[in-house]
């Protein structure tokens, strides 16, 4: 991954943190997935989001 891409992902994470509407644990998980050598599939990301939504539901 190029330096520019890394910086963009850092900015992306900062933007999400600033907005505050996405849980910190999900942001961290997303960052890990998006910076991994093999890009995750959309289905896999959707599962991550669903799991996060389940955790957020009483």
């Amino acid at each position: 991954m190029s330096n520019i891409e890394q910086q963009i992902l850092i900015d992306f994470v900062s933007e999400l943190v600033t907005q505050g509407s996405v849980p910190a644990s999900l942001i961290s998980e997303l960052h890990d997935r998006l910076t991994s050598e093999k890009l995750p599939s959309a289905e896999m990301l959707l599962t991550v989001l669903r799991d996060a939504a389940k955790e957020g539901t009483p």
Binding site: E5, I8, F12, E15, V22, S41, L46
Partner: protein
């Protein structure tokens, strides 16, 4: 990063054996077309990456490195074809030898093999863009904006950005689909609850009233409030909760299905909208193909450059315009196909929702048929349920919808003829059942109420989660796009500035106010450039091919500078400057030399004047070039490296080849006089074709040189600088002697070349001629052997400042007091 100290090539492509010494400095390989120069570029690329770009990509079907990499005479012996590069790690300054053979292109040897050296090598392997051909640079300039964005992002290693964006976008689409599905399930659950409670709306008061009526009968505590967690059967004994059949509720379920099937005409508007669209699709099978090939064909059109061969299938075309037109027609057809697709999907989506609702009613009815022993009806309902599911899935795509065309044209639902009768029979059966006791009826009512309420609670929770997931997906996608757009806008502003600056330097004489604008938007990258202050236009609109080539290199350099920063230390430019007009070559060389002093450029060109220009501008040293000529299949290219004019002439004379020596002297003088005329700003009668005879330049150069020395003498006098005055006088004296000697021998050069009198001239006759010319040319160089430039005039026209060489040893002030 690495730089090249030396190259060794054996039995590779058109080269039998070749050694070049580069010493980590810029280097030019020049020679006529077909002389084997590209073999050097291929060899460098192969040694570094194990691939040969010329043997891959569009139009190279059937070509392989293993079979076509070795010299044709060694095609059955790939082990004999090898390349070794002596490389230097620019960080540590250490050297190693990198070797690779065609037999094992996937592996290489590195001696010594250290972690640091592998790291340095990887920095080049990760950047294939460091080898640049003209075909590639022009892609940045003339490509349409979407393709340009892809090319530029690939060069900047930003392809991952778009991949991630697409993945996040697909995630958002999947999340939206989940919302649609869970919303439909929620509606089904609501319908089920409404039917059971027999209410028009899920009004809390009405529901509690209905439930408390039964609870009161059973002497249970009345419900005080209604929430999704309400337990309708609270207080019932365990055995009382086993009663799950409620006659009235079951009857309403079946009646709802009968009513919905009887009013299926509500689908007619959507069916009517779908029919003509499917007819259009069925009438031309190429529409579907066009939809499937849309993206593929668009990428093919971008790849068509100047060859009449389709880049997608290698088919040869009569001419490139016909090929372009063919591909454009395909894209136009796919535009119409896309509009048709939209119509089909709009009507299809509405029908899917309607069929899904019917399917929900079928599912609610099935248990009642099963419970009352109507096996044929249960099987028929099962079949209808599966059939509806199949139709729903099919309507989700144009191709699937086309498969349902016959049903859409005749009877989409295809309800079995006896289903209605079966359902009517089930209703009769239910009604004929003896009424339960009021107590049992109340128990089953509460049990079923709780079941439907639970389904509603679960459906609502699922819908809520799907909405939360969609909301997160949307927030994430928006934040990502915002971060990318902000970063790319800043990045392109920087690139835009460097690009404009570089181009202005090359074209300072006529485009000093040049500026470019890069406009990133939605995966595209528009490029417009200033045209002589008359407006901003696409680069291909008015600028000449030569200017476009210049732009291509400048944009490339700006991008690589942005990508690598100070790590940019090596690049191969494969004939990329072929079209740059002669007026701007020197500036181009100066751009590379001044802006990228630490970069080793390996440059190929078929133009000898270009090679001379690179030398005279100081971009390459006197030994930093190899001349290729006389390639033949058995021996490969004849090549000379760093042999200057005098050495080549001496070599000919040593063999008594006076004709060869004379030819080299004449050709060499012509090239040198061109450089000197430019460097000294000689006044030459203008010729449209810029082809000047030696004699036409010689007089002007000699005269102008004299003028500058006189001006330097006047300057020295005005400043009272005795040392400078003496220095100029010595130079004038040397000039007088050298010019006289040269004039005395000049007849010989003319005679040799024009009248072929060389046959009667011996080596002894010719040696003094060479000596005189050598002495003459020394007038235009300093005494520093390491300085390889000709002297030149600095300062603007009319405001000349100095007559000097690159190293500064020769430096005469031209400005008077």
């Amino acid at each position: 990063m690495i730089q090249l100290e030396a190259i060794h090539i054996e039995e590779f492509r058109g080269i039998r054996k070749l050694d070049l010494k580069l010493d980590c400095k810029s280097f030019v390989v020049h020679g006529p077309n077909g002389s084997g120069k590209s073999g050097v570029v291929d060899a460098i690329g192969f040694a570094i990456t194990g691939t040969i770009s010329r043997l891959s990509g569009p139009g190279t079907g059937g070509l392989t490195v293993l079979r076509h990499g070795p010299h044709v005479h060694r095609r059955d012996d790939p082990a004999a074809a090898k390349v070794s590069l002596t490389i230097r790690d620019t960080t540590t300054g250490k050297s190693a030898v990198l070797s690779r053979t065609i037999k094992a292109p996937g592996s290489f040897t590195l001696t010594p093999d250290t972690t640091e050296m592998r790291e340095a090598l990887r920095s080049v392997q990760d950047h294939p863009e460091l080898t640049l051909s003209r075909r590639e640079i022009i892609k940045f300039i003339l490509a349409e904006s979407g393709k340009r964005a892809a090319e530029v992002q690939a060069l900047l290693k930003l392809e991952g950005l778009e991949e991630r964006r697409k993945t996040l976008k697909t995630t958002l689409s999947l999340a939206s689909r989940d919302v649609t599905g869970s919303k439909a399930s929620l509606e089904d659950a609501r319908d089920g609850a409404r039917r059971h409670f027999d209410v028009a709306d899920l009004d809390a008061t009405e529901i509690m009233k209905a439930a408390n009526k039964r609870r009161d009968l059973l002497k249970l505590t009345p419900l005080q409030e209604l929430s999704l967690d309400t337990d309708f059967k609270q207080g019932l004994e365990q055995e009382e909760t086993q009663t799950t059949f409620n006659k009235a509720s079951a009857t309403r379920d079946v009646e709802a299905l009968v009513k919905a099937l009887a009013h299926s005409e509500v689908m007619n508007d959507n069916i009517a909208a779908l029919r003509p669209a499917l007819s259009d699709l069925a009438s031309d099978v190429t529409i579907l193909e066009a939809l499937q090939q849309r993206e593929f064909v668009a990428s093919g059109l971008d790849l068509v450059i100047d060859a009449a061969v389709c880049p997608l299938c290698d088919t040869a075309w009569e001419n490139v315009d016909a090929l372009r037109q063919h591909l454009q027609e395909k894209i136009a057809r796919s535009d119409a196909a896309a509009a048709l697709q939209k119509k089909i999907m709009t009507a299809g989506t509405a029908l899917i929702a309607q069929i899904r609702s019917l399917r929900g009613l079928v599912r609610a009815t099935q248990p009642h048929a099963l419970a009352h022993g109507d096996v044929p009806l249960q099987l028929a309902l099962e079949q209808v349920y599966e059939d509806f599911l199949t139709v729903e899935t099919a309507l989700g795509s144009p191709q699937g919808a086309l498969g349902q065309k016959e049903r859409v044209d005749s009877d989409l639902l295809r309800i079995p003829a006896d289903l209605q009768d079966g359902l009517a029979g089930l209703i009769r059966t239910l009604r004929a059942l003896p009424d339960n006791s009021a107590r049992v009826d109340a128990q089953s009512y509460l049990v079923l109420a709780d079941e439907r309420w639970s389904q509603l609670r679960l459906a609502k929770a699922k819908y809520g989660r799907s909405m939360a997931v969609k909301s997160s997906a949307q927030t994430i996608y928006d934040a990502y796009c915002k971060s990318v757009d902000t970063a790319l806008t800043n990045l392109y502003e920087t690139v835009e500035g460097s690009f404009s600056e570089f181009y202005r330097q090359i074209n300072s004489d006529d485009e000093a106010a040049f500026k470019a604008e890069l406009g990133p938007s939605s995966g595209k990258l528009d490029l417009v450039v200033d045209f002589y202050g008359l407006g901003m236009f696409p680069p291909g609109a008015y600028h000449s091919e030569g200017h476009q080539d210049g732009m291509g290199v400048c944009l490339y350099l700006a991008l690589v500078k942005q990508l690598l920063g100070d790590s940019f230390r090596f690049a191969v430019l494969d004939d990329v400057v072929m079209s740059v007009d002669s007026n701007h070559r020197r500036q181009f060389c100066e751009l590379l030399k001044e802006r990228f002093p630490d970069v080793q450029f390996v440059i190929t060109t078929h133009d000898e004047i270009w090679a001379k220009q690179m030398q005279s501008s100081g971009l390459i040293s006197r030994t930093g070039h190899a001349r290729f000529y006389g390639w033949n299949v058995n021996e490969g290219p004849a090549a000379e490296q760093g042999v200057d004019l005098w050495d080549r002439i001496d070599a000919d004379l040593a063999k008594d080849d006076v004709a060869g020596a004379a030819h080299k002297l004449r050709r060499g003088l012509e090239a040198i006089m061109t450089d000197l005329a430019e460097a000294l700003r000689a006044r030459v009668a203008y010729k449209g074709d810029a082809k000047y005879e030696l004699g036409e330049l010689l007089g002007s150069v000699t005269g102008r040189h004299g003028d500058w020395l006189s001006k330097a003498a006047k300057s020295a006098n005005s400043w009272g600088n005795a040392a400078a005055k003496q220095s100029v006088e010595e130079l004038k004296d040397s000039r007088s002697k050298a010019v006289l000697a040269q004039q005395n021998e000049n007849w010989a050069v003319n005679a040799l070349v024009h009248y072929n009198e060389w046959a009667s001239m011996s080596k002894a006759d010719f040696v003094p001629v060479v000596k005189a010319w050598r002495q003459f040319l020394e007038l235009f160089q300093c005494d520093n052997a390491a300085c390889e430039s000709w002297i030149y005039v600095s300062g603007a026209a009319g405001k000349e400042e100095t007559l000097r060489c690159d190293c500064g040893v020769y430096n005469l002030n031209l400005v008077g007091k």
